[in-house]
Symmetry: C2
Subunit: 909 residues, 2 copies
Amino acid sequence: MEHKFVYTFGDRKAEGNSSMKNLLGGKGANLAEMSNKQIPVPPGFTITTEVCTYFTEKGPVATRELINDAVRAAVAQVEGIMGSRFGDVENPCLFSVRSGARKSMPGMMDTVLNLGLNDEVVEGLARKSNNPRFAWDSYRRFIQMYGGVVLRVGPEHDYDRDPFEQILEAVKEEHHAEFDTQLGVEELQEVVARYKKLVEKQTGRPFPSDPWEQLWGSVNAVFSSWNNERAILYRQLNHIPSNWGTAVNVQAMVYGNMGDSSATGVCFTRNSSTGANEFNGEYLLNAQGEDVVAGVRTPQQIVKQHSLEWAEFAGITEEERLQRFASLEELMPVAFAELVKVETLLERHYRNMQDIEFTIQEGKLWILQTRDGKRTGHAMIKIALDMLNEHMIDEREALMRIEPEKIDELLHPEFNKKALKNATRIAKGLAASPGAAIGQIVFTAADAEGWKAEGKKTILVRTETSPEDLKGMNAAEGILTSQGGMTSHAAIVARGMGKCCIVGASHLRINYMDRTMVVGENVYREGDWISLNGSTGEILEGKVALSATLDNKSYEPILKIADKYTRMSVRTNADTPHDARVAREFGAKGIGLCRTEHMFFEGDRIKAVREMILAKDEAGRQKALEKILPMQRSDFEGIFEAMAGLPVTIRLLDPPLHEFLPHEPEAQADMAHEMGVSVEEVKRKVVSLAEINPMLGHRGCRLGNTYPEITRMQTRAIIEAALNLKERGIEAKPEIMVPLVGHINEFKMQEKIIRKTAASVFVERGDTINFLVGTMIEVPRAALTADEIAKHAEFFSFGTNDLTQMGFGFSRDDIAKFLPVYIAKNLLEEDPFQVLDQRGIGKLMEMGTKFGRSSRPSLKVGLCGEHGGEPSSVEFCHNIGLDYVSCSPYRVLTARVAAAQAAVKSLMI
Amino acid sequence: MEHKFVYTFGDRKAEGNSSMKNLLGGKGANLAEMSNKQIPVPPGFTITTEVCTYFTEKGPVATRELINDAVRAAVAQVEGIMGSRFGDVENPCLFSVRSGARKSMPGMMDTVLNLGLNDEVVEGLARKSNNPRFAWDSYRRFIQMYGGVVLRVGPEHDYDRDPFEQILEAVKEEHHAEFDTQLGVEELQEVVARYKKLVEKQTGRPFPSDPWEQLWGSVNAVFSSWNNERAILYRQLNHIPSNWGTAVNVQAMVYGNMGDSSATGVCFTRNSSTGANEFNGEYLLNAQGEDVVAGVRTPQQIVKQHSLEWAEFAGITEEERLQRFASLEELMPVAFAELVKVETLLERHYRNMQDIEFTIQEGKLWILQTRDGKRTGHAMIKIALDMLNEHMIDEREALMRIEPEKIDELLHPEFNKKALKNATRIAKGLAASPGAAIGQIVFTAADAEGWKAEGKKTILVRTETSPEDLKGMNAAEGILTSQGGMTSHAAIVARGMGKCCIVGASHLRINYMDRTMVVGENVYREGDWISLNGSTGEILEGKVALSATLDNKSYEPILKIADKYTRMSVRTNADTPHDARVAREFGAKGIGLCRTEHMFFEGDRIKAVREMILAKDEAGRQKALEKILPMQRSDFEGIFEAMAGLPVTIRLLDPPLHEFLPHEPEAQADMAHEMGVSVEEVKRKVVSLAEINPMLGHRGCRLGNTYPEITRMQTRAIIEAALNLKERGIEAKPEIMVPLVGHINEFKMQEKIIRKTAASVFVERGDTINFLVGTMIEVPRAALTADEIAKHAEFFSFGTNDLTQMGFGFSRDDIAKFLPVYIAKNLLEEDPFQVLDQRGIGKLMEMGTKFGRSSRPSLKVGLCGEHGGEPSSVEFCHNIGLDYVSCSPYRVLTARVAAAQAAVKSLMI
């Protein structure tokens, strides 16, 4: 192979550049680009993602053979730039080893720092830096990280804490030290000794002292970590293919912990929570980068103004602030000024808000990393629009910058203002990720998962979070930590998930043993209800009422742009006038699915419905249906009015009749009493209607074709409602949809009943309206014979829920027994009920659309399953030429943006 | 329209010919052809099937307008030939009006005879024929038929007898007449008077006296009858499309009831029960045709030899025979000789066994109709082979003459010879349709249907049957009548259905009121069990044991021909060595589907299976599976041995695990006791495994992918069994089939487990065998993504049962709630689980095959659903290029013939 597998960077030049993201990973490409752009990054080299794939297939030995020479040459080049040598006792060069995939996966990939230290080199480093404490602290950190990440030294039982942390805590306790920084050289040497003993005990071998062995071990660990459980989960959550692989970045270490003229921090070019164009960030004096992210210590603000605000909020005196929490702007004005220059440069260059990691080593600024910053939905929109106004990006790019899924966050309910006023405040923390969350306190990620499985809503309360907590964070309604800042793990991950999060609520004392959270004299226990206001950082007692109003319209300008490009329209699935109005406010262009069965359950209707079911013959059913007719008619009037002038697709009765009967003995007795029949008769009917596979049973148009009187009643209600509105000068545009058609004859029979009934109503009323008759395409056979069906049907609407059920042979009700295993084992990348399976179910849709239009070119084709609000599915619908998608009201905005982005993407091809 | 709608025939020429079956119907085309061939058919004309379609769409008035002139002209032509005039009082010409569809539908379509009679014409006919009794008898028959068929005069309640019959019976009783023939003119006049009163009472109008009104009424009735319930049922049973329509044949009447020199009869050119090449038939003196078919009087044999045999069997003296049952050969030798000449001519002409209706009017032979005769499965084969030997037809035609469905009859069990000897004989009748039938006596067709619905087996016992009984005949196991001959309705229909039937068991007295059947002093009641031997005519008490042996190999020569042409091979679905051996004897070329779950239920295994299900972890399951392993291995050894040298496709465990657990509380308690666990634990497991839609749930490869240890055990059992046989010098060719694959990854994971397990076994044993790994294509998505799947799967087998369930969205377990309505309302022409839906499900198969072979040209593709034994489905499989079909052992012959016929048809295109 003549491939280049290792790319060097540093000293104001690099072999790679920013366009090589796929090969070098996001981090590697950025490091190269920054070097090219004169950004002060520590020198190093990147091992490509191709090597990761090679590693996965061939293993470590072959990989080392493949790249050994190139790595040695690159190390030599770094040594030249840094003026030090890897493994040298007098003047050692140390390295960091980090993963770097195409897409940023924060906290997911394992990292090793301070690589190259051993019992001799540590002394050299101590001498060279004149800081033995720093050297031994680096050494103990190195052994801890390398031991955990590469050698897999860890707790012997799940319930144990990390054994390195236990040793550290023990030593601290023995020496009455509160913070790590209070440990002296001797104590750190003791820690190192105990660490090495631990490693040898668990691995059976002494800790490796050869720097090259350390380097290769770390490279292997990074590549292996691509396939660890957390990484796989993250990829699933974020739709990242497993074959992308990660690159490895080996970089000379620079130190933020070389005394009080050193620091390390993270900064954002804009506010990642609000989107405001204000440079901001946090740093820790005399610390390494992971201290900031892990949230172990409360960080200091970079900008003075923020430091003042924070201190006021935290109730800290100016004196204390200056002593312990002064801003970088105040403490190191030169480095601060350079940082501001660099962040402006970087944002201009990447034309996006940047998330920058930096270290100041004895006054000198080093940029460790920059990447597009994660942001909340609100920030995402504001930043896109601001950059558009600043002429940094154009309209199309502003639109493409919107992650449709995140729009959802904008619609997250907020607390009712009145309820908020009356609520009891527990404490306040940093508003790390906005929204409102209500749940029961749990103290471990595992509990958050377990309780969710039982249907409970939880707030995950931790001192800090770590990548191990990812599943639990995903399961919780909200996250609360007592430590950490806006750039802590909890904050970053929660923002990425769009999940409400409060961090650094330092007044809370969290006790995992007792499972309590204590504030002053108040004790909150596991299971207690609390409410989080992620927009203000307030933590409240109990369940605070939510507000249903939506007054934030910050997204309107983006939607205006979207509407310029979009081809498909977006309708809504709505069964009530309320839902219809909400969706219309979000810009729905009609109703794509109005389910009529929900109307059958309400109030007195269920009684009439049950009368119909118990009826012995058509006449009896007819009588019961006549009672339902006026109620259905008034339902439709309400919905038509809410959607005046826009099409409303009404699906005829779909579920099997047994769904309307009670199954518990008591409820059956009640029903018998109410209906004036014997309990036995009710039971008999329940038994006679029971089905082995109700999903494939007597439902959909099979009902209307066996009991045409139901279709007649529903048609009459629809047509009469439309005529009533017409009299009031309101235009109703009903589209009557026949469900579950598999054979053209099923449709034809229903169509005949519908048209005949409508004709009768027209004659009775002496007036007419326009209406369409079409069908749901949700049975595979319907898609396969769509040419026949479209000869009669005026529109199609893909019911992708059922189409997925039948196409895959997956019962949605029973899938929990095997889908989690399938996802975990990577048999399926996505739950096909959430993300449309384009390869199989999508093929049916493509065929159905093509066949249908072959016999009726004007055929209107839409989608009305859950997928109508899922961006990748919406894009697929655009690509196969659908006229519209229909989704739940709160997904309409997401679908509108997704539809517009699909259109823009087609333009770009 | 310039179309010709009316075709005349008679007087040795005709406007139509035998090639015009679609237009003139079978009967009309034959009548035309016979005229052309100098066969003495009464003159007449045929109104085409196109007019029927026109009638169905436009109604009677438009139809009459369309054809009025042509009909008038044709009547005039017939009048010319017969020398009489329609409606003329002095010299009347009377007509018959009959339906005639493309395919013979005996007894299904309504017929009107003696049309043209009224109060004046009857006197003219009496004078002209010098036989007033005949004239009045014809008149009363005419009113009865016309009243029933055209004017729909019938019983007022379902339980009533036909009111015309009631009147006739009443008059006979009043005049002490036993037979119709004993009624004189006056009595018949009284019958006519009462008939007319009845008609006027029920219809509100006097009986129509205008012959033209009578003619048009009859034509309309024939066209209308195409869509009566019985006709629709018959079409469904016989797969006749409803848009074919029927023609109407109007023909001058000739009379078999003009005294003792007149007769009417039915004859066959060969024996329709055995196939023997012997002319045979039955006739009645001084009677009309419907008397023969209806079985009201016991008919006489045409051939003297048969008459002698019959008399001996019936225990009738030679004197009585000559007096009452003499043969036509003896009574009318001239007409007999002409009939023999004509039957030979007709069989030669049509190159097939003919079923000929004739009438002798005062010594002159008239041929009323000829058609290909219905025959039993045995006769079908013998006649085809005989005609081949006689060089009447060639090999291909002999093959095409076989109705594959009828081969089934050859395999009908016969009674165990020993049991037969010890059985108590009730009586003997005519062996009208062979086979053995065991059932409980019922006396009405409705009961036969009702009892069948309750899962009971019945013998329908009637004095005679009529077209109204068709559904009941179909529902019964066998049919027994006390009257009628080999050409009676019961005999013909039963032979067509391949149903065991005994007719003319004249010693039986059947009393519908008491619901008893009396023979001498023995009384048999409704519900009593009897056995019919349709091959000998013996009626036996109780349930006589059946023999499982199959020694009739009369079909072998046909199969030899079939094998010359066939391209697809036929395998069998077999789960046991016994079934495998049976199928192999029928020529199965391997096993296409060996279901392993049945093996899980047997004996002790279910206990181990339940242990596996209750196990808390993989280790526990593994332990239980180890107990099952040796049993499964020995199962496979048996099956491989039975199929030595032929491929055996083994499907891995398919059903959801809950199918192996008991659902009744008592059985659960037993299981808990047996397994040494608490009842609650068993119940918990049952509840935890319960599914809403088990059909779409945790089954198929979803089991093997969540519990890989099951797949490992089954693979090990298969491979070890094959190796064990190899040691014994027997070749096993396993093909391991993964069920319910919907996504390539599901298959890949199973394939990996299978290949890995096999490799381990090979290493352990130091020997290998060849095997394939393939999949069932039964999930629609699998067919749609077959190109992906075929990259890994070495064979496909379409599981059309599940493919139909998911493709249609029809749960087979629940379909009874709507399929009958769908069939009745003509929404579906066939039950798609019996006859493959070629348009939809077939399309999936076609795509699956095409896609699959696109990535693996050598892909072996088969079908293993119920459809594998259904002829039209087999033909479809041939047409889309399948390599084999697999069906149950007793359908192998049917499938082999169907496959060969499909190949011949392709050659003929």
